[in-house]
């Protein structure tokens, strides 16, 4: 493929790709997201390949291994185009029938389509399934349509048109203005306005500036960034290049997970393809703008997702955070201005540039704009990745998309933001998905990982679990975090073991207060959040453990004995 040298050539190329596509040609899109992979979809893919060979259909049918479709609970998912028939929980044994009945015979196989467990209603297409219905899948909706390893698939759906628009029809100031007006807030957990951050880096002194994709995603229960980045790497990359152009950066970094091979592979392929096509490297699209990207891997510690720790890690040093009285956007990697945004934040940029800030800010609530990817997990019928407009109520997410709580259990709490987030009780689930509303309730949207807890979960044990997790993930550099976690964990372990005593709750609150105020980085300062939110809403459970030596959820082993 030749290097593309102008916006016009890009459009020519796109036309060429589109002209080759036959809209009526059957295409089998098989989800190759991480959960479907875990369910053995590689065997499903090979079965399709073999069957197509057997029936000599190689030229008549296309196969596409795609990114995550979102409905992980029912994987492996297969969508047959052009009819968009959606089959769930497909096994290799189903494959010959799918080819002969559906692909060739154009008949729907009843047992493979979605059946509503409550009403028995069937859904042939993805958009009719309650899990998908009413989602706004602006970011992740293209996943079933593209092979993440093919830049041509991304170009076919209009990819890199925002980059061309930014480079040739706008100057960096105009792009910045658009992002600011859109009020895009950081999706990694902080919710800080991305435009202001970009502006700080852009205006910071020094010629050399860096842009970074934080694809560390270390929170247990968070898998939306992985789904998005693995499934559509060019979308994130396009956002990053636009950001670099705006900020005046010529070097970018992707900091990502070492333990997700498919993610790493897809990023590497996307980078080399973008380079080959002239969308990355020297003189991008003939605009004179140069930009390169390097990939770095986390090596398995949660704190390395913290911005300053992450930057140390890119320098090859141990990932210890530093105080942030000087922001990393002013002094980051090698003390140069470094703008870090999360995967989803960057992925939002192309659509803002393409459709304008006015369109973007029409979606969402007053202060939280756009859509949000949510990874829904825990005691929920439909685990998966959901994308909804900001402002959607938690109740809708749990019941309409998540399908409610399995096994007839009662909902107890919703926990956001993993070990640094907070829990809110069932009584507050009418609250909207909104950075500020959730933070006022004592939780935080975090990166969008929503853990649903049923009545069998003990809130003391859950807090203990989070602290146990964090005790292994803190870097140990500052005393409040290092010692605070240890002491809180010890006290909570005692309580769950039935050794809690009067005054323990007050002691926990006191230590939590100190750690929250005095720790060095945002990890340390957020450590007490789950505990404090639980003390706020579930204090009676803590008191029952201590005073009555009773675990109301009948979870804690030591206390269960007394109960029985």
């Amino acid at each position: 493929m030749a290097h593309i040298n102008s916006a016009a050539e890009l459009e020519e190329l796109r036309k060429g790709i589109l002209s080759k596509i036959e809209p009526d040609k059957p295409c089998i899109a098989i989800c190759a997201g991480i959960a479907c992979l875990g369910l053995g979809n590689d065997r499903v893919i090979s079965a399709f390949e073999e069957e197509i060979r057997k029936q000599s259909l190689e030229t008549k049918v296309d196969i596409r291994a795609t990114g995550c479709h979102g409905f992980c609970e029912k994987g492996p998912i297969v969508v047959i185009y052009p009819e968009e028939i959606c089959y769930l929980e497909v096994t290799p044994e189903d494959v010959p029938e799918i080819i002969s009945q559906t692909v060739v015979g154009k008949k729907v196989i009843d047992r493979l389509i979605y059946t509503d467990p409550n009403t028995g209603a069937k859904a042939v297409h993805q958009f009719e399934i309650p899990f998908y219905k009413n989602q706004s899948r602006l970011l992740i909706g293209n996943n079933p349509k593209i092979n993440p390893k093919s830049i041509e698939d991304y170009l076919a759906i209009g990819g890199y048109s925002a980059l061309a628009k930014a480079l040739f029809a706008m100057n960096p100031e105009q792009v910045l203005e658009e992002i600011k007006k859109a009020n895009l807030r950081g999706r990694g957990g902080g919710g800080f306005p991305a435009g202001s951050k970009w502006e700080t880096t852009r205006n910071a002194p020094g010629e050399e500036k860096y842009v970074i994709v934080n694809a560390h995603e270390g929170e247990p229960g968070a898998f939306m960034d992985r789904a998005l980045f693995t499934g559509n790497p060019h979308l994130v990359l396009e956002g990053l290049i636009i950001g670099a152009y705006t900020i005046g950066s010529h070097q970018g970094f992707i900091y990502t997970r070492h333990d997700t091979p498919q993610l790493r592979e897809n990023i590497d392929i996307a980078l080399s393809e973008a380079k080959e096509y002239g969308l990355l490297g020297e003189n991008i699209l003939g605009s004179g703008f140069n930009f390169n990207v390097e990939v770095h891997l986390d090596v398995g510690i949660f704190v390395s997702g913290e911005s300053s720790a992450l930057m140390r890690s890119i320098e090859g040093k141990s990932p210890e955070p530093r105080p942030k009285y000087i922001r990393t956007s002013v002094s980051g990697i090698w003390n140069k201005p470094s703008n870090l945004n999360n995967v989803e934040t960057w992925a939002n940029v192309p659509q803002i540039i393409n459709n304008g800030s006015k369109w973007y800010s029409s979606i969402g609530t007053e202060r939280s704009k756009g859509t949000k990817l949510i990874s829904l997990s825990g005691n929920i019928c439909n685990t998966g990745v959901v994308e909804v407009p900001m402002g959607t109520s938690l109740k809708e997410i749990i019941y309409n998309f998540g399908g409610g709580i399995p096994n007839g259990k009662k909902l107890k709490a919703v926990h956001f933001g993993g070990p640094m987030g907070g829990s809110i009780p069932e009584s507050l689930i009418d609250s909207p998905l909104d950075f500020d509303v959730l933070s006022k309730l004592g939780t935080s949207l975090g990166a969008g990982d929503m853990l649903v807890l049923d009545e069998d979960n003990c809130m003391v044990e859950t807090a203990r679990y989070f602290l146990d997790f964090l005790s292994g993930e803190s870097c140990g550099k500052c005393v409040p975090c290092r010692e605070g976690i240890r002491q809180m964990l010890k006290t909570l372990t005692d309580i769950t073991d039935g050794k809690g005593k009067e005054g323990d709750i007050e002691l926990l609150e006191e230590i939590a207060g100190v750690v929250g105020e005095a720790a060095l980085c945002s990890l340390g300062r957020s450590v007490p959040k789950p505990l404090l939110s639980m003390l706020k809403y579930f204090r009676d459970e803590y008191e029952a453990h201590i005073k009555e030596k009773r675990c109301p959820a009948l979870f804690c082993k030591e206390l269960k004995k007394g109960e029985l």
């Binding site: 949660f302 990932p319 993930e473």
Partner: protein, 150 residues
């Protein structure tokens, strides 16, 4: 691991102190552990003090300074797997292999680790052996799953 490959990795990054983590990562992925003499060589080639190499190699959980078993078992103890019974799964794996997380058995058959979240929460509780996922596994099914590994 053949020394040529280590040599190749080191030569690619010779004199680049900033590549320390990358280099250790590549060696760990291919060799599954970091022998001391390799760390000494890393220190010399990248011109990084051995103390810093050791600090990085011991700080990150991914790096191992002892040999690993032929099969690596990863039990996910992320929140979603936890609420679906990961602890009972972990207890059973420990019972069957006789080792705790972070340990390797004496005949170097299995190494056991817990992992925080593999991102496939719909499959929980799950264990991974040599990268192969055993999803929605119950404690009773584990003995059968581990039997296959020699």
């Amino acid at each position: 691991m053949d020394n040529d490959r280590i040599e190749q990795i080191l030569n690619e990054h010779q004199g680049q102190a900033g590549s320390l983590i990358k280099v250790l990562m590549e060696i760990q992925e291919q060799n599954h552990w970091l022998p001391r003499e390799v760390l000494v060589e890393v220190s010399e080639k990248l011109e990084v003090p051995l103390s810093r190499v050791l600090r990085i190699a011991t700080f990150y959980k991914t790096f191992s300074l002892t040999p690993k078993g032929r099969h690596e078992i990863h039990v996910c103890t992320g929140t979603a797997c936890k609420v679906r019974g990961a602890q009972r799964v972990l207890d059973e794996v420990q019972e069957l292999t006789g080792i705790k997380p972070g340990e390797t058995d004496s005949d170097l058959k299995f190494s056991l680790e817990t992992v925080n979240c593999q991102g496939c929460c719909s499959l929980g509780p799950m264990i991974e052996v040599d990268g192969k996922t055993h999803s929605k596994i119950s404690p009773a099914e584990i003995a059968d799953a581990l039997k296959k590994y020699e």
